[in-house]
């Protein structure tokens, strides 16, 4: 088991048995050990905060807790008894409720319907809406939100109100432990205050709350104790939420044990070259504001920020997959039509999207068809495809990228994550892209293949491609990029050369939402 558990004896030893005890939880996915010995204990009536960087294992842990994943090793004790949470129903029956980041409500049903979904109030199969409405109303009143009408359609409610509906649902199941996954991400300041009041009321009633957030000030305000995860391990547990310093927390979260091999940057960059991608004052209403940057051939620009900070949206807007509210994008001096992907592709821009499977690949089609998808015209004369040339070209790319297996007739679905990513990259290589936008290029790529992807990205840059990389993993951005833009809440708060930043500083900026040094914000470099 993990030896790095630095438990400073926790808070009050009043309750001898914790409500929930997880010991040595291990969860293995193909190629990734998502959880590698996690310990967590939660007491009744406390707010237990779970901290950790992306990929630290928080999501997997709460899925284990919700019964959605089965741990490979380790034990879970509930009220002192060893239990198996074989499926979500089993977890619910014990009184464990999870409120996911993406709310899982049925938009077309009413508030009361959603609260009692699957456990409808009924007699002889006939629903009893009046009773359900009354009960839902009571739950919402208890949550301090009597203004949410039980008969309102959920789809018409604000995100904050929807969250309350989710919480009412948790309460209606007599939950004794409620897991909240970044509940404040969709809320404004006032709504967050409301939420905290609800959380305090719940804990006063003896309900335990596991609270996941990236915002340290929230954790200090509402939390009791902190558990920090890193690389699937518990690195600290039972830290007092109010007394632990930001620096201490960040130190625990950083300094990852897995070291990736990043390829060397070019020592002297060609500062004289004309930028190939120029983004001026780009904004997308509600997502990000006034983003400006430019990238020269051979440069790798990294966008660092938390999930939801707007980094992916910036990339998608540059690409035309979203239509910019204001601002311009120029590629090699020519302005791109906003909201027109085909124009961007025509100008030599390529995107490897975040959701590779749903946005990037035709999973049921063979490799070669995925590679040639953006360059079909090249293999066609009058629309008639020359199959041999097409396959040959795809095979050459596959070999150049060391795709395994090289058999280009294989369905893409049968490939590993790393090789699927290579297929996407090969598509744009075949097109001779001048600008490559990479959104989370190593998501779902196993540890061994990552260095390979990094080397590929650097090799592309060395061939003169301008690369923009978005990643939730700060070390990845720092290791890969020449320059880094730090994005928080839709604002670019800093732009620096990557070698002048460390993980600690970036994490501090994105979690506090501001750059410590003024003047760096929102300015493209002028060099």
């Amino acid at each position: 088991m993990s030896t790095s558990v630095a438990s400073p004896s926790g808070g009050s030893p009043l309750l001898s048995t914790p409500l929930l005890e997880m010991r040595g939880i291990v969860k293995q996915f193909p190629g990734v050990r998502a959880l590698d010995g996690v310990d967590l204990d939660v007491r009744a009536g406390e707010v237990h905060c779970l901290l950790g960087q992306n990929g630290a294992g928080k999501s997997t842990l709460i899925k284990v807790l919700a019964g959605a994943h089965q741990p490979d090793e380790g034990e879970i004790r509930w009220d002192g008894d060893r239990v198996t949470l074989g499926d979500p129903q089993a977890a619910m029956a014990r009184g464990i409720a999870t409120i996911y980041q993406e709310l899982d409500l049925v938009a077309g049903l009413t508030v009361a319907d959603n609260v009692f979904l699957g456990r409808e109030r009924s007699r002889l199969g006939i629903t009893r809406p009046a009773q359900a409405n009354r009960a839902a109303g009571e739950l919402l009143a208890r949550l301090g939100h009597p203004e949410i009408r039980p008969t309102a359609e959920v789809g018409s409610l604000s995100a904050a109100s929807q969250q309350m509906v989710s919480m009412a649902r948790a309460l209606s199941q007599d939950a004794r432990l409620i897991v909240m996954d970044e509940p404040s991400a969709v809320l404004d300041a006032e709504e967050v205050d409301h939420l905290f009041q609800v959380v305090r009321d719940l804990t006063a009633d003896g309900v335990a709350v596991v609270y996941i957030s990236h915002r340290l000030e929230e954790i200090r305000e509402v939390g009791d104790r902190i558990t920090v995860l890193k690389d699937g391990r518990t690195v600290a547990t039972g830290l007092p939420a109010r007394e632990t310093s930001t620096a201490e927390v960040i130190t625990l979260m950083t300094g990852r044990t897995i070291e990736y091999v990043f390829p060397a940057r070019r020592e002297v960059r060609d500062q004289a070259a004309e930028p190939v991608l120029e983004v001026q004052d780009l904004s997308l209403a509600g997502r990000f504001r006034d983003v400006s940057f430019h990238v020269r051939p051979g440069e790798v620009l990294g966008l660092a920020g938390l999930v939801g900070s707007g980094r992916s949206e910036i990339l998608e807007t540059v690409y035309g997959a979203r239509r910019a509210t204001t601002g311009t994008v120029h590629v090699a001096g020519r302005r791109l039509r906003p909201g027109d992907v085909a124009a961007a592709v025509g100008a030599g821009v390529g995107l490897a999207p975040e959701e590779r499977k749903s946005q990037g690949l035709l999973l049921g089609e063979p490799i070669y068809r995925n590679i040639t998808l953006a360059s079909l015209a090249r293999f066609a004369r009058g629309g008639y495809l020359s199959g041999g040339a097409e396959k040959q070209a795809a095979r050459e790319q596959a070999e150049a990228l060391d795709l395994r297996p090289v058999d280009v007739d294989r369905e893409v679905r049968t490939l590993s994550g790393g090789n699927q990513q290579k297929v996407v990259l090969a598509r744009w290589l075949l097109r001779d892209c001048t600008v490559l936008l990479l959104d989370e290029p190593t998501r779902g790529v196993d540890v061994g293949a990552r260095s390979e992807i990094y080397a590929l990205i650097r090799a592309l840059a060395d061939r003169g491609v301008a690369v923009v990389v978005v990643s939730s993993e700060i070390p990845e951005v720092l290791g890969l990029a020449d320059e880094v833009l730090v994005v928080a809440d839709g604002d670019v708060i800093a732009r620096r050369p990557a070698d002048e930043l460390d993980e600690h500083q970036v994490l501090d900026m994105v979690m506090e939402g501001a750059a410590p040094v003024p003047g760096a914000a929102r300015e493209g470099d002028v060099a």
Binding site: A68, D104, L351, A374, L415
Partner: protein
């Protein structure tokens, strides 16, 4: 780097164990034959049954030509339908478009023009009307973002209504002898209609398997978002798919006009159900992204041969409808089995996202890909009076 090589093969081969046969599926030559083997066998069995139950009459050149001639009209429409369905859509308006095209091409005005110039005017008119209506379908669906089912359902109602208005509910006789002689005749003993069907099917096969248009059709139907992000103009492509379907309706209208020597607003009634049924039992997935022309042609032949065998044995058309319904359900069940391997990873992802929900009632969502497939052809088996 060496680490990757050890990491990649296990996941690949594990998936391959179940998928090995299917991995070659979309290959151009090997796959379709293998996948259509079942259909070929079904067709052969039907022929054997026909030969045994109606010996003299079934195995007869004239009878075979009758079957082919009957198959021709549905077949041409089904080829267009195959494109639409592979592209992730559906076209319920085909029957109505055939009627509208046939009526428009046989109005007094059109026929007068044809008399002055050449009967080819009628052919052009029919195809132009079909293409125009298809264009409207496509624009409403692609740019108006209306669900294809609804948009083409509306076209189904509107086009037949328009046909009735134009024809004033009367059957319009085709006057031009040349037209009837050309399309009603034969070349070297093979009816012209059958030759047209063969040509359309061959052109469809080339278009689907050998052109950028076909490739993009698979991409748009298989994963519209990925296609869009790869720079394909998905909306424009969708419009072309419905135009293509409309064109095949126009061709089918010409063929019907030749066969019946009339243009009528009742032509092609319920043709959409026959076409969709043929496409579906031909192995094309109703969710899009996968399908073959060969399968569709076999599907059409199976249905037509079935009808012929039933007729030769003096069985009622009602019994035939029941048999059709059964065949459709069996074919789709089989298809789902095949598709299940393909859909599994997606299902798993969805399951992981929803299974934690307190509702817990969502795993049933995995049945949706088959849902519409099961429901729609079921309707066609029952033949509801529309």
């Amino acid at each position: 780097m060496s680490e990757t090589t050890t990491a990649a093969p296990p996941s690949g081969s594990a998936a391959d164990a179940g998928d090995g046969a299917r991995a070659k599926g979309p290959g151009l030559l090997g796959g379709p034959l293998g996948r259509n083997l079942g259909l070929v066998v079904a067709l052969l069995v039907l022929c054997i049954v026909g030969a045994i139950t109606a010996p003299g009459r079934f195995v007869d050149v004239d009878n075979v030509l009758t079957i082919l001639r009957l198959a021709a009209v549905v077949g041409v429409v089904s080829v267009g339908m195959t494109f639409v369905i592979i592209g992730g859509g559906i076209d319920l308006s085909v029957g109505a478009l055939v009627a509208l095209s046939s009526v428009w091409a046989t109005t007094l005005a059109t026929q007068a023009m044809a008399q002055d110039f050449h009967w080819i005017v009628m052919v052009f008119t029919a195809i132009a009307v079909g293409a125009g209506a298809g264009l409207i379908n496509g624009i409403v669906i692609a740019y108006g973002r209306l669900v294809a089912f609804i948009a083409t359902l509306a076209m189904l109602a509107a086009a037949r209504g328009l046909a009735e208005i134009i024809a004033n509910r009367r059957t319009q006789i085709v006057q031009d002898r040349g037209f009837i002689e050309f399309f009603g005749g034969d070349v070297l003993g093979i009816p012209t209609l059958v030759i047209i069907f063969a040509l359309v099917a061959a052109a469809g096969w080339v278009l689907l398997n050998r052109t950028t248009f076909g490739r993009r059709t698979f991409a748009v139907g298989g994963n519209a978002e990925a296609a869009r992000l790869a720079g394909i103009r998905v909306q424009r492509h969708t419009v072309w798919l419905y135009v293509l379907s409309g064109v095949t309706c126009g061709i089918a209208a010409v063929m019907l006009m030749a066969r019946t020597t009339t243009g009528s607003s009742t032509h092609g009634t319920l043709l959409e159900l026959d076409a969709i049924a043929a496409v579906v039992i031909g192995g094309t997935l109703l969710v899009g992204g996968r399908g073959t022309i060969v399968g569709t042609v076999l599907g059409v032949l199976i249905f037509t041969t079935l009808g012929n065998v039933f007729t030769l044995n003096n069985l009622s058309s009602s019994a035939q409808a029941v048999a059709r319904g059964v065949i459709i359900v069996l074919a789709v069940l089989l298809q789902q089995r095949l598709a299940a391997g393909g859909a599994r990873p997606r299902k798993k992802a969805r399951g992981a996202a929803t299974s934690g929900s307190p509702a817990g009632a969502l795993p049933g969502g995995s049945a949706t890909p088959g849902g519409p497939a099961g429901a729609r052809p079921g309707d066609s088996g029952g033949r509801p009076p529309t």
